[in-house]
Amino acid sequence: MQKSVLRIGAGSGMSDDRIPPAVELIERGALDYVCCECLAERTIAREALDRSRNPGLGFTPSMLERMEAILPPSRAHGVRIVSNMGAANPLGAARALLAAAPGWGVPDLSCAVLLGDDVTDLLRDHAGLTLMEDGAPLESILPRMASANAYLGADGVARALDTGAQVVITGRVADPSLFLGPMLHHFGWAYDDWDRLAAGTLAGHMLECTGQLTGGCFADPGMKEVEDLAGLGYPFVDVTADGAITLGKTPGSGGRLDRATCTEQILYEMHDPAAYITPDCVLDITDVDFAQEAADRVRVIGARARPRTATYKVVVGYFDGYIGCGEMSYAGINAVARAKLAIEVVKERLRRRGFVYSEMRCDLIGMNSLHGEDGRPRPEPYEVRLRIAARTDSRKAAEAVGAEVRGNHMQGPGSAGGGINFGAREILAVKSVLLPREKVRTEVVLEGVR
């Protein structure tokens, strides 16, 4: 019999999100599903690079560590797992998982894989598409393209769940769609039932950053208190067949779930609140309100949605040169002047070595690294940390930046401490295009026990 209230938990909000709260939620939260979101905008480009070097890699590097922690308790408590940890290689992820699971006491695992988000080859035939960021043609970055992935929707996730597999692995899927997928599958909601898609999409949006809903990214001592922040619990949503949604969190965990935390999270990464575009619908939260039903229990009302757009958003990762970086600290009398002299010394040494940088940034951590210099007078700090970062197409020039910063230990202004050379980092930047939906073919493949 179909359960009348479906409970879906948030198990991860980024690839290196904390694992213990996910285990607690699975063990104590009476979940039906746990969704683990693990892909930032550019991570998939890096993982595509891994795959190109080793065809068995390319999924989220922490996948096996996370799965080892959450799969056995999920099995014990009857919780199904949905995750985009497949990244650039969902099939490879499933096979690696199936190979490892028997060693964790799960010998008979089944895993459904959603394919089709990787549109790298398709895009080569659509060089005329317009980049959303700057209006330039896709052609301008095609020669440097590392990856291209469409944000797929909840329909594909639901189809993967229809196989009955305990675990669903995807590549790029829009974050809220990971959560809407189990609702579509469980309740059989029509994919044009906009009121329910609105509710499910909003629930997913609220949950997708785990602890940011329950008191993380929130506390400000004296102004905004969070009880037992160290024991911050992850959230879940209770959904009914008619699309009523109520948020909760792991019983007995730390943190808080109330109007204030919900309001911060509903607007997180949102632009026009009347038009939050996902692959499933265009969500409108302008009429949303929160009702505190009990301690750490919040009802969410008033989500609306309009029909989805005719396109998928595609994130294109491309090689964009190198960034070199180094840091050094100064303290005590005249510390800021010594740090400023060190900046000039590093710049001049790099210049005399013939290195050229398209962009360079010099920060004094403790003074201007986060908020910049807005012209308002500020007291000089007792300690200051110099940071220099620069962009270049030359790896050698990038490597020289941190080396020259660190060289200030012996050959710069006096009393320089704690120098670090961060070396050179190859940059995978991202831009986006819109691709007509009908160009994208998705497919569900079942791996493991059938």
């Binding site: 960021e133 102004m223 632009h271 940034r361 920060d363 012209g375 970062a389 962009r391 930047a429 991202v430």
Partner: protein, 103 residues
């Protein structure tokens, strides 16, 4: 009544590409009335002008007593290529809270 945004509301910053969005949620109804009337796009742009030429767009959510500011070109070229120590601009919410509102 204090006119520092920090004392009237709390804030969170998010990122998409080279755009930062910062929400400001009022602590109470009186604070909401002040924020709604005084914390304008121009006020926010003035506080961020050393970081971005803008534009800044403001959205109102009266039921939540919240404002959402969308600040374009504020993230040093975008999260993936910025040279900044905080490429996501997570710390920019606390810059917005330093704004002093005019009477």
């Amino acid at each position: 009544m204090s006119r520092r945004v920090y004392d009237l509301g709390h804030a969170r910053a998010g990122d998409k590409g080279n755009t930062s969005n910062i929400s400001v949620t009022a602590y109470n109804e009186a604070a909401w009335q002040v924020l709604r009337a005084k914390l304008t796009e121009a006020q926010v742009l003035a506080a961020f002008r050393h970081l971005t030429p803008g534009p800044v767009r403001r959205y109102e959510l009266p039921k939540l007593r919240a404002l959402n500011f969308v600040i374009e070109n504020a993230l040093g070229g975008g999260v993936t290529r910025s040279l900044a120590i905080d490429p996501h601009g997570k710390g920019l919410s606390s810059l917005l809270l330093t704004i002093e509102l005019p009477d």
